[in-house]
């Protein structure tokens, strides 16, 4: 029997909803083919064995050519485990908003976690958790971050293919607006005055929400250097209150550092319109 030379893949979970790793199981057309090309060595949601050895353990055996990491770091044990995973992975890619930005559970970062604990649990003293939810990159070096809440299936396949072929993934980093243009969507803001985060949101979903007549709600997180001053002004013009604006940014990528100025911008009095409409004399 000749040695198995296929590259090895591992999938890991931290605090998350499982949706991003499920995306791999949602590759119905590709799953069995992928399993021929790649040795899926560690993937607890899919297999009870690691390379034929049972049972698979939480820490894995390694080493792995590519590790996909879902979820954010919210416990001391998570911190230890992500360092371990980094050590046994040649390449480490985060999948989704939790692993990349801390996820919706990072809303605790803006609140008193003690109060949260007491709201949910009758005996909060039994609950071990960190005060913050942090992305993987806050703890270990990350080779690539795939955006989305959840990630896009085609982008996931592209990332796996690219890393295993040793090339850079072809994942555009422009805004959702480009995707609307490419899809031929009418702009929901221009045509209907619908508030839309498209201009400041990272592409990847294929402009899903505007395609369904809804404004983008930012689940792929911020584009590089977002113009938040203009964005907040536009959202106000389209009828959002300061409170609504803070809410829409504080969802699935709440802890993205790019969004930090939003709270202040949204609570300020609306600035003077630099181009007031001309009033007839």
């Amino acid at each position: 029997m000749h040695a198995d030379t296929r590259p090895t893949l591992a999938v890991w979970k931290f605090a998350s909803c499982d949706g991003c790793q499920l995306t791999l199981l949602d590759c119905e057309d590709e799953l069995l083919g992928l399993a021929d090309q790649v040795r899926i060595s560690h993937f607890l949601e899919m297999s009870g064995a690691e390379d034929g050895r049972e049972p698979a353990t939480l820490n894995g055996i390694g080493p792995y050519d590519l590790s996909l990491v879902e979820g954010s770091v919210t416990t001391e044990e998570d911190v230890r485990r992500i360092h371990h995973i980094r050590r046994i992975s040649r390449r480490l890619v985060t999948i989704g908003a939790c692993a990349t930005a801390g996820g919706v559970q990072a809303l605790r970062n803006f609140a008193d976690v003690e109060q949260f604990r007491a709201t949910v649990y009758a005996s909060p003293q039994y609950i071990a958790t960190l005060a913050t939810s942090t992305p993987i990159s806050a703890h270990v070096p990350v080779d690539f971050e795939l955006r989305g809440c959840p990630i896009d299936r085609r982008q996931l396949l592209e990332v796996i293919t690219a890393f295993l072929a040793g090339r850079k993934p072809n994942i555009p980093d422009h805004s959702v607006c480009f995707e609307c243009k490419r899809r031929g969507n009418t702009c929901v803001t221009v045509a209907h005055g619908t508030p839309c985060l498209g201009p400041v949101t990272h592409a990847g979903c294929g402009a899903l929400c505007p395609t369904y007549g809804r404004g983008c709600y930012g689940c792929f997180g911020p584009v590089a250097n977002p113009n938040l001053v203009a964005m907040v002004r536009q959202l106000r013009q389209d009828g959002m209150t300061g409170r609504d604006i803070v809410r829409i940014f504080r969802t699935f990528n709440a802890a993205s550092p790019e969004y930090a100025p939003v709270a202040e911008l949204a609570t300020q009095e609306p600035p003077e319109d630099p181009h007031p409409p001309e009033t007839p004399q």
């Binding site: 119905e28 949601e45 009870g48 064995a49 919706v104 605790r108 949260f116 039994y126 369904y212 809804r214």
Partner: protein, 453 residues
Amino acid sequence: MSHRGPRVLRLDALARVEGEGALRLTVNDGTVAEARLKIYEPPRFFEAFLVGRGHYEPPDITSRICGICPVAYQMTACQAIERACGVTIDDQLAELRRLLYYGEWIESQSLHIHLLHAPDFFGCPSAVELAREQREAVERGLRIKQAGNAVMEQLGGRAIHPVNVRIGGFHRVPARAELAPLAERLRRIQEDAVETVRWVAGFDFPEASCDYDLLALQDPGRYAIDSGTPAAMAAPDSPGSDRAGPVRRFAVDEFEQHVVERQVPHSTALQSELDGRRYLTGSLARYAIGGRWLHPLAAEAARAAGLGDPAAGAVVRNPFRSIVVRAVEVAHAVAEALRIIDDYEPPPRPYVELPPRPAAGCAATEAPRGLLYHRYAMDADGALTQARIVPPTAQNQAAIEEDLRRVVQTRLDRPGAAATDEELTALCERAIRNHDPCISCSAHFLDLTVERA
């Protein structure tokens, strides 16, 4: 080989379940002293951070509790908020919602049947190994699963965390013509779904029974998915009987008076009780409570699969056979989805406006793995003042632990060769997978570290 003193088995990472859990079993002198499904997935505090959010936000936010059943969360959240606002969504909007929900049932149940559960019956660690000997069956399962995803992608924009759902309805509703390709696709997998029932019915099932109550929504005339009243079937008088027990019903508004959860220090999990009794939600409960309203195609498949006659109130109490009931539910969901598409006329408006008012509302629906309950209270401006979510796996945990105890005890009592640790561990994993636990769902309020009292 004899064991002296307590024999402790641990499995630190359960595989082929959604989320992260562990198992701990203590056997003392040939008797199971303790069987525990540990849920160590960290909490995510959804109920806490929902407070202060807008009443329009729970569908999007709570869908992130679970990537496996986001539609269940969206549908339950919408209905709870709509109740609070005093609005009922009916006719075609309600039917479209049901179509989306059937898409999730088809996808999620097929995922569990083929990728998570079936490998157990062939001694395979995963569906990849299973596909080596059962390629046709696994590919058939993936086809069905994909069709379920196609329903969610068409109606919801995407299969995981759909974007098209909003309180009051949808952002956009499809034209009739847009659903036609979906119908073709569902028709193509209708035979696949029935074939899957035949396939799983042929598996080798260990003898097992359960004596807990069964809780599911009941909506006379319909196999309930997003409507109906909680109904509980009591265990039969004689152990091991598959006869239907008496059924009691209560209003959704009274859910929290009947279902009580306690956090206990010796356990990492909240223990859920229904009127002080252990109970189970999910496929076995739905089949017992609503089986007579299954689509005729699904009912016929159930009879042929040896599940008894659902029209006559058949009850399945062997948890290992849940995979067959799940397959029957997929056949039902496919048939019902086709019926909705055939009868579809686009509603006049994609959604109903829901102005906020100071009120509270609750709702329950049938997530693929069991009954899901939400309640919200809001201020006059729509800011949420309270959120409460009771996911199915949290409710099932006590029943799962009882199953663990039973299957291990039954094995220990069997004469012949003593059971090895590996055999017992594998048996326990199977007993857990019988109920398709979704630990990610449970973990937003269950925890994790064992504290010694």
